[in-house]
């Protein structure tokens, strides 16, 4: 009950969207019912396909989680290093800017060719897309840490490693989280792109596969299922972010 009360706006919008869909399809036939099937029919397929979709979800999640964690570790690690060393930053940042000019999806054929398996090729592509964003925002966040915090840490003679984890990363964390959030969205997109090439499993593969078979009821079901999980992942991310940034004035 409390949940309904707190989220009634969200629920209202959801109901609105469903009504709009029904109006556009069954009621006024604006959209073809071949491409946009009856919602009730779509939902009827759910029990039959839930097992297959869960398997695909797991396949996608494995790629996403591994890739995102790699991007986080490398992006935050290298970003902090580059942010702290102004000499290194001057040498390397034009190259970072240049590298981000290449759209990662364009690298798909190369990745599939270079990496031994589809799995590692997709992990590479998803990681790379997320990595650039995390790297750039981490550098920015570290560079713009208020000097007074660092001076304060210096007067306390806090040693290097402790300074990194107790001062520098927390001070930069609002910027890093903002970057990671964008990177997460990008990884969803890259995941979909990667799975459309040689994947044998995954949520985007599911959609792609049934779209090839012209089963648009299952395509829609796949979209709804995927959307649900994206929202869940985003909510979990948001929770972590809120908790980690509870010290900021805005929270």
């Amino acid at each position: 009950m409390n949940f309904l009360k707190r989220n009634y706006g969200v629920i209202l919008v959801g109901v609105g969207l469903v009504v709009l869909y029904i109006l556009l399809t069954q009621t006024f036939n604006v959209l073809s019912d071949f491409l946009f099937p009856n919602l009730a029919d779509v939902l009827k397929r759910f029990p039959e396909y839930i097992g297959e979709m869960m398997g695909n979800l797991w396949a996608s999640l494995k790629l996403l989680i591994v890739a995102f964690v790699i991007a986080l570790v490398l992006g935050i690690g290298l970003g902090t290093l580059i942010g702290l060393k102004s000499g290194l930053r001057r040498t390397i940042s034009p190259w970072i800017t240049a590298a981000t000019a290449i759209p990662v999806p364009l690298l798909t054929p190369y990745a599939l060719n270079i990496f031994p398996s589809f799995k590692w090729a997709s992990i590479f592509l998803i990681s790379l897309a997320a990595f650039w964003v995390i790297l750039a925002t981490t550098i920015g966040a570290v560079v713009s840490i208020d000097r007074r915090y660092l001076e304060n840490a210096e007067t306390l003679e806090i040693p290097k490693m402790q300074k990194l984890f107790k001062i520098i990363l927390p001070a930069a964390s609002p910027g890093i989280f903002a970057g990671a959030e964008v990177a997460l969205t990008l990884s969803f997109m890259m995941l979909a792109v990667a799975e459309m090439f040689g994947a044998r499993a995954g949520l985007a593969f599911f959609v792609h596969h049934y779209s090839d078979l012209a089963r648009f009821d299952l395509v829609l079901l796949g979209f709804l299922f995927t959307a649900f999980w994206l929202v869940v992942i985003t909510i979990i991310f948001d929770r972590i972010k809120k908790r980690s940034l509870n010290w900021t004035i805005n929270n």
């Binding site: 208020d146 007074r148 915090y149 001076e151 304060n152 210096e154 007067t155 306390l156 003679e157 806090i158 040693p159 107790k166 001062i167 927390p170 001070a171 964390s173 509870n246 010290w247 900021t248 004035i249």
Partner: protein, 273 residues
């Protein structure tokens, strides 16, 4: 407990504008030095040099006989703001300082000592686990002071620590600081304390040092003997203290009008050229 010798100290942030012109002063171990002077004259700069946050010529600044190479736990600074790390609880802010000073203490021991210092400054134990953003300005200042005293350094640098507080809180904290400083009889800390308030300087200092306008020099000093140091009760009644207050106020005022006149003259000279 450290003596400080400032000998013809010069300093500039950028090459063309001197901030400290020629500062000379000597602080004996255990002195409580209050720095007075107009905004922008270089008080914070002098403190930053003492802290080692800015580089100084090793011949021009010596603390305990040594040159100042870099910041040290022996010379903690109480900053006017940004004193506490906002992502740690207020208590952890004291704890992280204790951890550097006493590496072999357990977490429990650090907490215990932090709570003791909080108590010394009139901070409730519940505040230990609060985030700085949930504290009042006065409470934050007190945590800053507690941290500086907790690491038991021989030299304390305080930059307008009570600038933004109400009169009552300010008075309480002033009394606490005098208390903490004076009770360590023969091993008192040397304290450099920047303030804008002549009354605060009169109340706290063993030595009052007035800096002139940038590029600044010391334009006036006054030393109190233990016996004639003003007390809060006599701060406004003792005629000698009243005279000194008038004198200090006048010196600071004249220096600033003098500077205004000089700038005016310079501008006029430029116009005629």
């Amino acid at each position: 407990m450290l003596d400080v010798v400032v000998d013809h100290l010069q300093f500039a942030y950028d090459k063309n504008t001197l901030v400290l012109g020629d500062v000379n002063l000597t602080a004996n171990a255990g002195d409580f030095i209050c720095l007075l002077g107009q905004s922008g004259c270089g008080k914070s700069t002098l403190l930053r040099l003492l802290a080692g946050l800015e580089k100084s010529d090793p011949n021009q600044l010596r603390i305990g006989g040594k040159s100042v190479e870099k910041p040290s736990l022996d010379r903690p600074m109480v900053f006017q703001d940004y004193g506490l790390f906002p992502w740690m609880t207020a208590g952890e802010n004291i704890g992280i300082a204790l951890k550097q000073k006493y590496p072999d203490w357990t977490k429990e021991k650090r907490r215990e000592v932090a709570l003791e210092w909080m108590d010394n400054l009139g901070l409730e134990p519940e505040l230990h686990d609060k985030l700085p953003r949930d504290l009042s300005g006065g409470q934050k200042q007190r945590f800053g002071v507690a941290r500086a005293f907790a690491i038991d350094a021989p030299l304390l640098l305080m930059d307008e620590p009570f600038g933004a507080l109400d009169a009552v809180t300010k008075a309480l904290l002033q009394d606490t600081v005098i208390d903490l400083w004076s009770k360590e009889k023969d091993h008192r800390k040397t304290i450099f304390f920047v303030t804008h308030s002549v009354d605060e300087a009169l109340l706290l200092a063993t030595d009052i040092v007035v800096l002139g306008q940038a590029p600044s020099k010391v334009i006036y000093t006054h030393h109190f003997d233990e016996s004639n140091k003003p007390k809060r009760e006599t701060l406004f009644t003792d005629p000698a203290v009243n005279d000194l207050r008038t004198k200090l106020t006048q010196i600071i005022y004249e220096e600033s009008t003098e500077r205004a006149r000089r700038l005016e003259a310079e501008r006029a000279a430029q116009h005629t050229n």
